[in-house]
């Protein structure tokens, strides 16, 4: 498994992503600057880390989505290569058209920084096969614009196709308005593309790999990716 972490101006979780990848794939990822036109040879997995690329100018993720490296990331995804977007990375993937929907300002306007339970909705993908369907996991969330929106037809289509990866839930796995931190449609916290080789999610699995910081539920995601190529 050879991974690359893309660094945009304003990314700030690239170190966390690199640490999780190093720990669980046994190999440090390449760190690739956004102005590069190509990915390093032989990359299996591209990770777009969290942060505030371009200071969230215009719309969060909008400018980064048009940077030169994103053309290479789109070609990589087209070839079936794996792409993981976390938080700002999810926003970038939506803005780039590699994932459906858009992330809007949290419904209650507050920046959220806390632990959050999620229910695993589809455990039959290269990203999630380390979990069981319906399993409740605890990841951290840290975002001001994580309110996932799409039109009803798109929502129905991604539900029917199994493209919902994670939903916000309580500790018992109940998915309802009380467990929805940011107003996301249908409590959606993460989605796949139609080929299941691109995943975007607002929560941070890369921060839950060490018991020192409150849990290890994120390890299974990176461990599954380590076996994917």
């Amino acid at each position: 498994m050879k991974a690359a972490v893309i660094l945009f101006p304003g990314s700030n979780r690239e170190g966390d992503a690199a640490r999780a990848l190093s720990d669980l794939t046994g190999q440090a990822p390449a760190v690739v600057w956004h102005a590069e036109a190509d990915l390093p040879q032989g990359v299996d997995l591209v990770v777009l880390p969290g942060g505030f690329s371009y200071g969230d100018y215009l719309r969060c993720g909008a400018i980064a989505a048009r940077s030169p490296i994103m053309r290479a990331v789109a070609r990589h995804a087209e070839r079936g290569g794996l792409v993981l977007g976390i938080c700002n990375g999810f926003q970038i993937l939506c803005e780039a058209g590699l994932l459906p929907g858009v992330l809007m300002r949290n419904a209650k306007r507050r920046f959220l920084c806390k632990m959050q339970h999620l229910r695993v909705e589809n455990a039959a993908t290269p990203f999630t096969r380390g979990y069981a369907e319906g399993q409740v996991v605890k990841f951290a969330i840290a975002h001001g614009e994580g309110n996932f929106e799409a039109d009803p037809a798109t929502l129905d289509a991604i539900e029917d196709a199994g493209q919902v990866a994670f939903r916000y839930s309580d500790a018992a796995g109940r998915v309802d308005a009380a467990a929805n931190p940011n107003g996301s449609e249908r409590n959606i916290a993460g989605v796949f593309n139609s080929r299941f080789n691109v995943l975007g999610l607002m929560p941070h699995p890369e921060n839950l790999i060490d018991p020192l910081v409150g849990g290890t539920d994120g390890r299974a995601l990176f461990a599954a990716l380590a076996l994917a190529a």
């Binding site: 215009l58 719309r59 909008a62 048009r66 803005e95 929907g101 858009v102 809007m104 300002r105 949290n106 419904a107 209650k108 306007r109 309110n147 929106e149 799409a150 039109d151 107003g183």
Partner: protein, 79 residues
């Protein structure tokens, strides 16, 4: 040639910033405001004097960058 592009949220899309501004206007006791929706204005200068060409270029700019048409509408005004 000068142009102005106005990007607004589609109706029905939640606008927490607009709501916050609406509340602040209320706290200033500015009467008669029933709703606020926040949008964006882009003032753009174009080298070309061809209005049809400018409209085409700006349309492409809106579709590809200035607006996210999942949740936003845009209007192009050419001076």
């Amino acid at each position: 040639m000068k142009a102005r592009v106005v990007v607004t949220l589609k109706s029905g899309v939640l606008d927490p910033q607009g709501k916050a501004i609406e509340g602040a206007l209320r706290s200033l006791a500015i009467d008669g405001v029933t709703s606020v929706r926040q949008g964006k204005v882009f003032d753009i200068e174009l080298a070309d004097e061809d209005r049809d060409g400018a409209r085409r270029a700006l349309g492409e700019a809106c579709e590809r960058l200035l607006a996210n048409t999942i949740v936003e509408n845009y209007a192009i005004e050419i001076a």
